[in-house]
């Protein structure tokens, strides 16, 4: 639903322009599907993990894991499958209470390997004894912006010998397939209009929208609708024009839209430049009035 608010006292609107109130219904939905090739390790063994061979992240983007990993986590959730846990990480709505056990190393990277016994500084402390059959963990690698770049399913197995030292992570052990629905109902925008997203509550990925993650607005002409893979979406956004939002919740409509011909469509993304989340916080389609 598109709302219109006219405020007599607001000096920011010119005659004929509108304040366009974005709502959750306007969002382009992102569907993400994680999948894993489990890495079975010796049960209750102080396993070491080495990711120097990893060259792509779970979205298939180049990722030199040995030099770009600045955060490492072992996580097991209370009531979530590994796939559900991975989705919660993607949506950035994993809460502390959902986690049964965890350990992490942050801040002193880059890290190229880790051993389970190194993750003992949280409570309850993670220990090799927690690597038991049927109780998988996610081993999560984050980059310097704390974005999840890879998640690998690790599970203890009685049939794996404990004589091995480090387990080698390789490309493709964890993948994330993403589809963006570009057939969302367009939001009409005109010259001089002001976009207002203070009522957004959901993110395009299905998590919670946080206006703190909207530090710039990117817009790019959009031809056609349908759906787009992550590669197609990323390629599209690479060519986008960006304007900073200055931490405000209302900004003037991006210039390319204001200058466009009526009926032209644009993909508009609210994104964060310095936190670099996995996906833009919110995306919608604008149509020039």
């Amino acid at each position: 639903m598109i709302g219109l608010v006219l405020l007599a006292c607001d000096p920011g609107l010119d005659t004929g322009s509108e304040r366009v109130l974005l709502s959750d219904d306007d969002l382009v939905a992102l569907a993400a599907v994680p999948s894993f090739t489990p890495l079975y390790v010796a049960a209750a063994y102080d396993a070491g993990f080495d990711w120097t061979a990893v060259t792509t992240d779970w979205l298939g983007r180049p990722f030199s894991a040995a030099t770009e990993t600045y955060g490492v986590e072992f996580i097991r959730a209370q009531d979530l499958s590994p796939e559900e846990l991975a989705l919660a990480l993607v949506r950035d709505d994993l809460t502390q209470d959902m986690v049964e056990l965890y350990g992490w190393e942050l801040g002193n990277g880059p890290y190229s390997s880790a051993r389970v016994s190194e993750f003992d500084d949280h409570t309850p402390a993670l220990s090799p004894s927690h690597l038991t059959p049927g109780d998988p963990f996610l081993l999560v690698l984050r980059d310097v912006h704390e974005s999840v770049r890879l998640a690998v399913l690790v599970e203890g197995s009685e049939s794996v010998a404990s004589s091995r030292d480090d387990y080698l992570l390789v490309d493709g052990m964890g993948t994330l397939a993403v589809t963006a629905a570009l057939d969302a109902t367009p939001v009409p925008l005109g010259d001089g209009d002001q976009l207002d997203w203070h009522q957004l509550t959901a993110s395009s990925a299905g998590g919670r929208f946080d206006s703190a993650n909207a530090t710039f607005m990117a817009s790019v002409p959009l031809a056609g609708g349908g759906s787009a893979t992550w590669d197609e979406l990323a390629s599209l956004l690479d060519g986008a024009d960006s304007v900073p939002t200055g931490g405000e919740v209302r900004v003037d409509a991006p210039l390319p839209i204001a200058a466009a011909t009526p009926g032209d469509r644009f993909l508009v993304a609210l994104d964060c430049d310095h936190c670099e989340p996995l996906f833009p916080a919110a995306m919608f389609i604008a149509e020039r009035r």
Binding site: C9, Q96, G107, H198, R208, S211, N213
Partner: protein
């Protein structure tokens, strides 16, 4: 970016509208805080009414002295929100109110941990919560889990206690090193608009502090000594400092009272064996006593501020008050006295859940007895921290430490509201504030 709104009085109606302009300036440091200034024709005391719409619903504290120049700090507005306010002057002839002013708060810092809230919180329009992971934060949170205030610390520091200052103009919180390996002990006092941040040295402080009514602070301080056959023991003391951090007095020191046992754990303090692990302190100004939680002894003690004398101990071995009925607490945090006894967050020692318990205390009979219990979620043992704040109507706000969530329960133990922190974040000792803001300093 500084936001400035000037609005003339557009619709003054006799008797309820002031004929004055109102200036609203948004803080550059905490963009949810606004300073409202205006001049009234008639002398009076000013206040600001504010809220999400023109019905307002919240009000700041009023000025204490009458005048025509008014300056009020408005805090408690959620980040990235469009709210409304009006300035009100109470004069001898009645109240004069300005026209409505629309205000826009800025977005919060992207680095703040997110909270997911459900239900409806009855009390505390603003919670003041220290939260930490690899960074520490002090957050103001409204009932929907939105930020109303924030302060971010440096990596490897920990904040465990945050309180609204006694005069209501600042947020006061502590800082110490995450692994206690170096002394980073300090108390911070940050004005509501964030523009005045004082770092008050608090040598070897940890866990908790309390502001004193006459100014200055009391805090828990470690006292590391060599003991016996080459052992190094971490003891505790309670000290008072002035507003600049200069030592005023040592109220109490464990080394003057007791001797360490033979079997102590290592791990929490890299300096040596963790003897008592005092973890919270409260001050009862009316009675002149400190209430100190001594975790490793599963004991709480009341100290006479003037003499440092232990008035009584409750719990643990050698308790001066005897448990008449119920379950004794273990590894507790945040005891709080009330008229009938004491509320305490009972972590337990490695069990499957934690509790909040109330004990009736009969000092005359020398006994205490459990008379109320609230059990936390099964399977969620709170190993570190934990806090409970009771309200007069029987509701209670509970911070579940390492569980990473805060809940409000009613007098029947039903959960009204809950806010869950993002993965990896731990909740410290809270303050609950009905109204933030008021006359500017």
């Amino acid at each position: 970016m500084l936001a400035l709104f000037l609005l003339g009085c557009l619709a003054c109606s006799p008797g309820d509208a002031g004929d004055y302009e109102v200036s609203v300036v948004r803080s550059e440091v905490v963009p949810t805080v606004f300073t409202v200034t205006w001049t009234s024709d008639e002398p009076g005391t000013g206040r600001v009414e504010f809220g999400p719409d023109e019905d307002y619903g919240r009000v700041t504290a009023s000025e204490s002295e009458s005048g025509t120049e008014h300056r009020i700090v408005v805090a408690g507005v959620p980040a990235a929100s469009v709210w409304h306010l009006r300035a009100v002057t109470e004069t001898a002839g009645g109240e004069l109110a300005s026209a409505d002013v629309e205000i826009e708060s800025g977005a919060a810092s992207p680095s703040l941990p997110t909270f997911s809230a459900s239900g409806k919180r009855k009390h505390g329009s603003n919670l003041i919560a220290p939260v930490f992971s690899d960074h520490p934060f002090v957050l103001g949170l409204d009932g929907e889990g939105r930020y109303t205030w924030w302060w971010e610390g440096e990596s490897d520091d920990v904040y465990t206690r945050a309180r609204l200052s006694l005069d209501g103009t600042a947020i006061v919180f502590n800082r110490f090193d995450e692994d206690r390996s170096i002394d980073r002990g300090a108390i911070y006092r940050v004005s509501l608009d964030g523009t005045d941040a004082q770092e008050i040295p608090a040598e070897l402080s940890h866990h908790d502090f309390v502001e004193l009514p006459e100014g200055g602070y009391a805090y828990l301080k470690i006292d590391v000594r060599e003991y016996g056959d080459g052992r190094v023991i971490v003891g505790d003391s309670v000290v008072e400092i002035d507003e600049a951090g200069a030592l005023v007095s040592e109220v109490w020191n464990a080394w003057d009272e007791w001797t360490p046992p033979d079997d102590l754990s290592n791990g929490f303090y890299p300096q040596g064996e963790d003897w008592l692990h005092c973890n919270t302190i409260e001050y009862d100004a009316e009675r002149g006593v400190y209430l100190v939680s001594v975790r490793n002894e599963s004991m709480v003690m009341e100290l006479d501020r003037a003499t440092g004398e232990i008035l009584w101990t409750l719990g643990g071995e050698g308790s001066s008050l005897a448990l008449a009925s119920g379950t004794a607490f273990e590894h507790q945090h945040a005891p709080l006295r009330d008229d009938s006894g004491m509320l305490v967050f009972d972590n337990r020692d490695g069990e499957s859940r934690s509790y909040v318990r109330h004990y009736a205390i009969d000092e005359g009979a020398g006994t205490y007895a459990e008379d109320w219990t609230y059990a936390g979620p099964e399977g969620n043992w709170i190993a570190l921290l934990g806090d409970a704040i009771p309200y007069d109507d029987g509701n209670m706000l509970i911070a579940w430490g390492t569980g990473g969530f805060i809940s409000e329960i009613d007098s029947d133990g039903n959960q009204n509201w809950r806010a869950d922190a993002e993965f990896g974040h731990i909740i410290g000792f809270l303050d609950s504030v009905e109204s933030l803001g008021g006359p500017a300093e």
